[in-house]
C-alpha cells in the first residue's frame, strides 16, 4: 500500500491565537495548515472554536514568527534583574499616607 505524498502539500503552517472574551488578550491555541489567509482563519475557527471558546482569532504564518532562543535566557532577560526600582515595593510610603 505504498503511496508517496512527495508531490502533495498540506499548505503553509499558521499559528493560531484566540481571544476568549472581549477585553482579554489573544492566547496561543495551536496551529493549522491552510493555503491562504481566508482558509487559515476558517480552519482555525473550525478547529479551535467549536465550543464558543473565542470572540476573535489571529492567524500568523509560522515562518513569520520571530522568537528569542532558550539558550539566551540568561543574557537576554538579565538586564531587568537588577532594576528593583521598577517595582513599587522599592519605595517607602510614610505611615498615614493612603491611596498610593
Amino acid at each position: 500500500m505504498t503511496m508517496s505524498t512527495a508531490q502533495d502539500t498540506q499548505g503553509l503552517l499558521w499559528e493560531v491565537f484566540v481571544q476568549s472574551k472581549p477585553g482579554q488578550p489573544h492566547k496561543h491555541s495551536g496551529s493549522v495548515h491552510a493555503h491562504d489567509k481566508e482558509m487559515a482563519l476558517q480552519n482555525a475557527r473550525d478547529l479551535y472554536c467549536r465550543r464558543s471558546e473565542g470572540t476573535n482569532i489571529w492567524v500568523v504564518p509560522a515562518s513569520e514568527i520571530v522568537a528569542s532562543s532558550p539558550e539566551d535566557i540568561g543574557s537576554f532577560f538579565e538586564p531587568s534583574n537588577d532594576k528593583v526600582y521598577r517595582h513599587p515595593t522599592f519605595y517607602h510610603v510614610p505611615e498615614g499616607i493612603t491611596h498610593m
Binding site: M1, T2, M3, S4, T5, A6, D8, T9, Q10, G11, L13, S29, G30, S31, V32, H33, H35, D36, M39, L47, R50, R51, A67, S69, P70, E71
Partner: protein, 312 residues
C-alpha cells in the same frame, strides 16, 4: 556545552517538573520517542473516526445522529491538535501522513475491531473513550509542552464522548430483552480490547523505562489498566450487565479488583496487522486521502494565483 552536561541539565529540568518547549535542547532519543508517540496518538484519533463514522447514517434517532456527528468531528480535531504538536518537533505533516499511509506508523489496535451493532457505538464511547481518557488525563502533565497543552484541550472535550456512550448503553440495558442482550454482546467483544489499549504488561514494555524517566508518562501501563477496571466495574453493575471475565474479583487488601490475564497473543497479532479490520481501515484512509488530492491541488493553485496578482 558538551553532550553529558546538556543531558544532565535536561534531566535536572525534568526532575524539577519543568516543561520542555520546542526550541529547548533535548536528547535525540527523547525527540524520536515523542514523535513516534504523538504521531501514533494522532493517527489513532483519525483512524478512530472510521468505526464510528460507520454508524452515522444509521443512528436510531436525530438526537443520536447529531451527537455522534459532533463526537466524530471532535476526534478529527484531536488528530489535528496532535499533528501540530508532533510538527513542533521538526517533522512535517506530509511526512507524518506518509508514514501512516505506507503502514510505517502504527495507530491504536482497538480501531481494528469492527462496530457490528448500534450498541457497539455505546460500548466504544463508554469503554474505548473511557480508557483513552484515563491515559490522556495522565498525559496532561507530560513533559513536552505542546503535547501537554493539546491534552488539556482534548480532555475537556472527551468527557461528553464517554457520557454519550454510557447513555446509549443505559437505554439498551434497561430496554427489551433483545436490547439488553445486544448491550451484553457489545460489552463481551469490547471489554478485553479496551484493557489492551493500555499497552503491554509492565514487565514486557520496552519503551516504558525511558517514558517514565523522561516524565512523558507518569504512571505505568498496569497502574492505568488497574484503575480503569476499578472505575468501570461498578458502571457495568449499574447497567445490570456482566464483565466477561470469570477471574474478576474484589480484592479487599489492595482495594481493587483482581482480573484475568489479557490475551497478549491476540494483542500482538492485531498489532502485526492481522486484526479483523486492519486492511479495511488503512485502505479507507488512503482512499480518502487520494480522493481529497484535487482539493489540495486547487487550493494550492488558487493561492499561487492570488500571490502572483498581489505581487504584480
Amino acid at each position: 556545552m558538551d553532550q553529558i552536561k546538556l543531558e544532565e541539565n535536561f534531566q535536572a529540568k525534568l526532575d524539577r517538573n519543568e516543561m520542555i518547549e520546542p526550541k529547548d535542547w533535548m536528547p535525540e532519543n527523547y525527540r524520536k520517542h515523542l514523535i513516534r508517540q504523538i504521531s501514533q496518538h494522532a493517527h489513532s484519533e483519525i483512524i478512530g473516526m472510521l468505526p464510528e463514522g460507520n454508524w452515522i447514517t444509521r443512528a436510531p434517532s436525530m438526537r443520536r445522529k447529531i451527537v455522534l456527528l459532533a463526537k466524530v468531528q471532535d476526534e478529527a480535531g484531536h488528530g489535528l491538535y496532535l499533528y501540530s504538536a508532533a510538527e513542533s518537533m521538526g517533522i512535517s505533516r506530509d511526512e507524518l501522513l506518509d508514514q501512516l499511509h505506507t503502514g510505517k506508523a502504527k495507530y491504536s489496535s482497538i480501531f481494528n475491531y469492527p462496530t457490528l451493532t448500534w450498541s457497539d457505538i455505546g460500548a466504544v464511547g463508554w469503554l474505548v473513550d473511557g480508557a483513552a481518557i484515563m491515559n490522556q488525563v495522565m498525559l496532561q502533565r507530560t513533559s513536552y509542552g505542546p503535547y501537554a497543552r493539546a491534552m488539556v484541550r482534548i480532555c475537556k472535550e472527551e468527557s461528553f464522548h464517554q457520557r454519550q456512550g454510557f447513555e446509549i448503553m443505559q437505554v439498551l440495558a434497561k430496554g427489551t430483552p433483545e436490547q439488553k442482550a445486544m448491550a451484553q454482546d457489545s460489552l463481551n467483544r469490547w471489554w478485553w480490547p479496551s484493557l489492551m489499549m493500555f499497552g503491554p504488561a509492565d514487565d514486557n514494555s520496552p519503551n516504558s523505562a525511558n517514558a517514565l524517566k523522561w516524565k512523558i508518562k507518569r504512571e505505568s501501563n498496569d497502574q492505568l489498566r488497574q484503575r480503569f477496571v476499578n472505575q468501570t466495574v461498578p458502571q457495568v453493575e449499574y447497567l445490570g450487565l456482566t464483565v466477561p471475565d470469570k477471574d474478576l474479583k474484589w480484592n479487599e487488601e489492595k482495594k481493587g479488583y483482581d482480573f484475568g490475564e489479557v490475551n497478549w497473543e491476540e494483542f500482538y497479532n492485531v498489532i502485526k496487522g492481522n486484526g479483523p479490520c486492519n486492511k479495511e481501515r488503512l485502505s479507507a484512509k488512503v482512499q480518502s486521502h487520494k480522493d481529497g488530492a484535487w482539493v489540495r491541488e486547487a487550493a494550492n493553485a488558487y493561492a499561487a494565483k492570488k500571490n502572483k496578482v498581489a505581487a504584480a
